[in-house]
């Protein structure tokens, strides 16, 4: 497919979704469907497909007639001449963008049940005030427990990061385009990248749920969850570093008759070692924060304690935990920023 055709197709698909959205909203507003009708997936998706095709048709006709749709504007090929500078309200794409954006915001507000009445509701405010009063008067008697659990969380994040490093390090070279040059290499690269993307798109909290069933509730499950997520994230970031190295030194080492392992070890690794350290420390930082959350679903550490107190509405105890978490996260943030600055 030529480039021009590809851009044309992308623009049509974009406009198609635009029109699909507008028509769907219009249908819902006009028909006011019942709950049952909303759950009829088969009918609704056929309708959506129909609207989408209508959209593509409309957009093709309009752009054939010389109108510049929003899709055309976004996905224009670089070879095309830029559009004439005219006021946006005299253009089709301007109105299209305005309608889509406004409609999105309105639909969003309706969907989230946005309500001033609920925000200003007397009873609700009283409840929130009780909670906040509790949190702002922390019960310091549980501080030792809180600290112990925080230490558990810190080490959970630390071990998860440390165990992820060797896996991510080795995998990063197999998932870098400039290392995997051969045809077979390209397949390895592609499958690894896909695997990382899938593993990363599954949030650590989901991994924690899986592992808490597998190995039982506790810090081990949380650690495994963070490790899997860290391997995928680090490997992706590492391999992007590998792809950005300058290839001159690599060629230099290659020309000495060095084997592939030696080319990587002497030509690439010295170029990426500092960014690697920086990325890894940042990952530990992220893992500490995630470890707190993971505790909420049975991953151990301070999160587990938090969910216990929260379930019993013990707000002063929750307050103490919140303070401990905030202090540690802040400190760690500072420390990691300093280290990253130092290794630059």
């Amino acid at each position: 497919m030529s480039n021009k055709n590809r851009y044309f197709l992308k623009a049509r698909i974009f406009d198609g979704f635009n029109i699909l959205f507008i028509l769907m909203v219009a249908t819902v507003v006009l028909i006011k469907p019942s709950q049952n009708q909303l759950l009829d997936l088969k009918f609704n998706s056929s309708l959506a497909l129909l609207f989408f095709l209508v959209g593509i048709f409309l957009s093709s006709v309009l752009s054939q007639k010389g109108f510049l749709t929003w899709g055309n504007l976004i996905f224009k090929s670089s070879s095309e001449k830029p559009p004439q500078p005219i006021s946006w309200y005299k253009t089709l794409w301007g109105w299209q963008a305005l309608i889509i954006l406004t409609l999105s915001i309105v639909v969003g507000l309706v969907m989230t049940n946005f309500s001033f009445y609920e925000i200003l509701n007397r009873e609700g405010i009283d409840g929130a005030l009780r909670l906040l009063t509790g949190i702002f008067n922390p019960d310091w008697s549980i501080l030792p427990r809180a600290v112990n659990h925080m230490i558990e969380t810190l080490f959970m994040a630390f071990i998860a990061t440390v165990l992820a490093i060797p896996f991510a390090f080795v995998l990063s070279f197999f998932s870098a385009r400039n290392v995997m040059e051969s045809r077979v290499g390209f397949l390895v690269y592609l499958s690894l990248r896909t695997f990382f993307n899938i593993a990363r798109s599954i949030e650590a909290i989901i991994w924690a749920i899986i592992f808490s069933v597998w190995v039982g509730i506790g810090p081990f499950a949380g650690m495994l969850a963070l490790m899997i997520h860290s391997i995928a994230s680090l490997a992706k970031q590492y391999s992007e570093m590998v792809e950005s190295v300058s290839m001159g030194p690599v060629e230099g080492i290659k020309s000495t008759g060095a084997a592939p392992f030696q080319v990587v070890w002497f030509g690439i690794v010295p170029q990426i070692i500092l960014p690697y350290i920086s990325i890894t420390i940042y990952r530990w930082d992220i893992n500490v924060r995630m470890a707190t959350i993971i505790g909420l679903v049975g991953g151990g550490g301070i999160g587990t304690l938090l969910i216990q107190y929260q379930g019993q509405a013990m707000w002063p105890q929750v307050g103490c935990l919140v303070v401990v978490i905030a202090v540690v996260v802040c400190l760690l943030d500072q420390v990691s920023a300093h280290i990253r600055e130092a290794v630059k």
Partner: protein, 256 residues
């Protein structure tokens, strides 16, 4: 000066994107020569050198090294070809964060075991050889500096020392002085000549300036659009040939 060390027969190279960089090139290289390759930018000089040490895979043709075809070698054999045919580059291609000495020692990697290279366990002998080569190019005092703290000319001399550490029989030089100023230019070229004359290493060198060609080359070939258009001694490049190689109206620039 008579034994043929490299014999190139009908060598062609077409890149994956369809660019034909070399078209049916044949020539011989005699042992101990200082052969210079000239031609416009894009005429295929770099491609030619990279095919000779198998950094690139030629599309067709043969390359005989001591009478043995190295065009179709695969796997580990390619590494030993590269070891015997060293190379230096326009951008020096040193590892910037490593010391000068470590950079030279990477010339000893060919055939070294995985564990030894992992822990950088170079032998004492390797190290003293590396220092000797640094001495040969007059830069041993900088052995423990980081490579990126050196000037361009000094880096190119380190690159020569790295190539020498391979104990090569042929040294390929891809525009070794193109990123250097004219004064440094001659220093580097003089060391190449020293390597050629004192160590007897055959040199194939891409050059831009004809004045350098006349000063250093023992023989010249010229490429144009990937074809071999001239083969002879430096003083045979007359005004006519010059116009033919570089195109009508080209003017010579001198480096003193």
């Amino acid at each position: 000066m008579s034994e043929t060390i490299l014999s190139i027969k009908n060598l062609s190279k077409t890149y994956d994107n369809g660019t034909q960089a070399l078209a049916d090139i044949s020539f011989d290289v005699k042992k101990g020569e200082f052969l210079v390759v000239i031609g416009l930018s894009g005429s295929g000089k770099s491609t030619l050198l990279r095919c000779l040490n198998r950094l690139l895979d030629p599309t067709s043709g043969q390359i005989f090294f001591h009478g043995k075809n190295i065009e179709n070698t695969k796997g580990r054999a390619v590494f030993s070809v590269r070891k015997k045919i060293g190379m230096i580059f326009q951008q020096f291609n040193l590892v910037p964060r490593y010391s000068v000495l470590t950079n030279v020692l990477t010339g000893k990697l060919a055939g070294m075991g995985v564990l030894k290279s992992f822990f950088s366990l170079f032998s004492v002998e390797d190290k003293s050889q590396a220092l000797d080569y640094l001495k040969l190019v007059g830069i041993h005092e900088k052995a423990y500096l980081r490579a990126d703290q050196l000037s361009g000319g000094q880096q190119q001399r380190v690159a020569i020392a790295r190539a020498l550490a391979q104990k090569p029989e042929v040294l390929l030089a891809d525009e070794p002085v193109a990123s250097l100023d004219p004064a440094t230019c001659h220093v580097v070229m003089d060391y190449l000549r020293k390597v050629n004359q004192e160590l007897g290493i055959t040199i194939i060198c891409n050059l831009h300036f004809l004045s350098l060609v006349r000063e250093y080359a023992t023989r010249v070939i010229a490429l144009k659009d990937g074809k071999l258009v001239f083969e002879g001694s430096p003083d045979q490049i007359t005004e006519d040939w010059f116009q033919k190689i570089y195109g009508e109206g080209a003017r010579e620039i001198h480096v003193q």
